[in-house]
């Protein structure tokens, strides 16, 4: 097997991943022969238009959908943050964070620590309903991080947030990733978000990888730097949009 050739710090191995909805023989596959490796602590953004198969790939890695072909290996400690926070409305914030973990004092302490990392210490006992969109998504982030995941899967986690909240969330996410060092796969259709956050950007077009580049923009990344603009143009072109408004 070629698998053993992978370096030991590789946490995601995906080879020849293929998935078609319905009849796999006749229907066009949503993802078709994806080969992706993600190293420990690496932040990868998966860019693509709607229907390019990026969420399908994330769902395969996250064990949310086991119906696919190909060779895939992921760490046991994984966590997903979805586009909607998906907090249980009938559980207080703290209990949402500990969801699925043993109900011990130590776990509750870890959950409180995770909430303080997302600056929501004072919201531990409230109902999710009382949270704003950004707060709810921060709880979802705390719920993921409390598991100390080796692989963090983010499925357009900031897509439903307003622009100003999104900027704050980007900074928070980067700080948290620096601290916990999980490998991250961020699915997004936001080119700026991908460049701002990721070490590497993969563009998915019609279920295949059409581009796989390291982000060479120096940190801290500024949207108005030349490197940023160049990569932005390249990624937008890859996605089939010019980024300029024709008047």
């Amino acid at each position: 097997m070629t698998v053993t050739e992978s370096p030991t710090d590789t946490v995601v191995i995906a080879r020849g991943v293929r998935k078609a909805f319905g009849d796999a023989r006749t229907n066009k596959p949503v993802i078709d022969g994806l080969n992706v490796e993600i190293r420990s602590g690496e932040f990868v953004a998966l860019l693509g238009r709607s229907g390019s198969g990026k969420s399908t790939f994330l769902r395969a890695l996250g064990a949310l959908d086991g119906d696919f072909e190909g060779y895939v290996r992921v760490p046991e400690r994984r966590a997903v943050v979805f586009q909607d926070p998906r907090l249980l409305p009938w559980q207080r914030v703290l209990t949402n964070v500990t969801l699925g973990l043993p109900a011990t004092a130590a776990v509750r302490e870890q959950a409180r620590a995770a909430l303080s990392e997302v600056n929501l210490t004072d919201k531990a006992k409230v109902w999710p309903r009382t949270l704003s969109g950004g707060e709810a998504q921060r709880v979802a982030l705390a719920r993921a991080l409390v598991r100390e995941p080796e692989l963090l899967l983010l499925d357009e986690p900031f897509g439903a947030l307003d622009a100003l909240t999104r900027i704050k969330m980007h900074a928070l996410l980067l700080a948290l990733c620096r601290k916990h060092k999980p490998a991250v796969l961020l699915v997004t259709h936001d080119v700026d978000e991908a460049i701002l956050l990721a070490d590497r950007v993969i563009v998915l077009t019609d279920g295949r990888i059409s581009l796989d580049v390291d982000v060479a923009v120096p940190k801290p990344r500024a949207r108005d730097s030349d490197e940023f603009a160049t990569l932005r143009r390249r990624l937008l072109a890859e996605l089939g949009v010019t980024g300029e408004i024709q008047l």
Binding site: L64, A79, V80, F82, W127, R129, T130
Partner: protein, 287 residues
């Protein structure tokens, strides 16, 4: 630009081209101060109805033999309470409804879980329950008498079935409408089958269950009336039959009042449960 803005800000109000109004003048019309509390206002309708009834009785427009005046009905109620007969019959009926509701809730919940949590269970249970719902409760009375005689069993069974159907239908549909996204998220965070049921699916279907409970309690009083036509020696139904036989219209009115109060009490019980169990649905948090 700045000069234009400052000029506008300091200039005198412009003469309006059309009639302009202060929006508060319109808003205040809808926000009048409540002189009588809302709770008391709710009683206004029934109180006026009784007053009208008394008036029509006193002026002789209502025949006292077929429509006794409210005063006469109250007298009858006091008499029935004084000799203890109302309490005795009421207790018998309450026990029947109590047992029927308890068994029915348990049965309805178990069937809803069996049917809601698995497709196989749904295949076995759901169509049968739909059929049972389609059959009028009263139509089951002859069968129940043949099977169980005229003891307490057919009476409680009839109530049990009515309650179970209402609980089942609503809880099953509530289980099936629990947000699939929440279930998926919970699973992805390592929540097992049993924990999924009691942490996600049961709380998620609680609002639907409570709607079922409200309908079930209403159905239980209705079934009680049917059940007590089965040769009941005691119970509100028996009192009603006797009152009809002896043409005690005032007693009939008392019993209608008792049924009304029992129905309202069940609604209050469910409202209390909703307030206690569904606090997470409220927008603002107490603590």
């Amino acid at each position: 630009m700045a000069t234009v803005l400052s000029r506008v800000r300091t200039s005198a109000p412009i003469e309006p081209s059309t009639t302009l109004v202060d929006p508060r003048a319109l808003a205040e019309q809808r926000q009048r101060k409540q002189v009588v509390p809302r709770v008391l206002q709710r009683f206004l309708g029934p109180v006026l109805l009784v007053a009208l009834w008394q008036l029509l009785s006193s002026t002789g427009i209502f025949n006292a033999r077929t429509v006794p005046p409210p005063t006469k009905v109250v007298e009858a109620a006091i008499h029935l309470i004084a000799d203890g007969s109302l309490q005795e019959h009421l207790l018998t009926s309450l026990l029947r409804v109590g047992y029927g509701a308890a068994f029915g809730i348990a049965l309805g919940l178990i069937l809803a879980l069996v049917s809601g949590l698995s497709r196989v269970g749904e295949n076995f249970v759901d169509a049968n329950m739909e059929v049972l719902r389609a059959v009028p409760n009263f139509a089951l009375v002859p069968l129940l008498i043949v099977w169980f005689g005229i003891s307490e069993v057919p009476k409680i069974t009839l109530i049990t079935l009515a309650v179970a159907v209402a609980i089942y239908i609503n809880t099953f549909s509530a289980i099936r409408s629990v947000d699939a996204g929440l279930v998926e998220a919970a699973r992805s965070f390592g929540v097992g089958r049993a924990e999924l049921v009691y942490r996600v699916i049961l709380p998620g279907s609680l609002p639907g269950f409570l709607i079922g409970l409200r309908l079930a309690l209403t159905a239980s009083w209705l079934s009680l009336i049917f059940a007590e036509t089965i040769n009941a020696r005691k119970g509100l139904g028996r009192m009603m039959t006797d009152a009809r036989e002896y043409f005690q219209i005032d007693v009939v009115f008392v019993l209608i009042g008792v049924y009304a109060m029992l129905g309202l009490t069940s609604v209050l019980i469910v409202r209390f449960l909703e307030a206690r169990l569904l606090t997470w649905r409220r927008a603002y948090d107490g603590d």
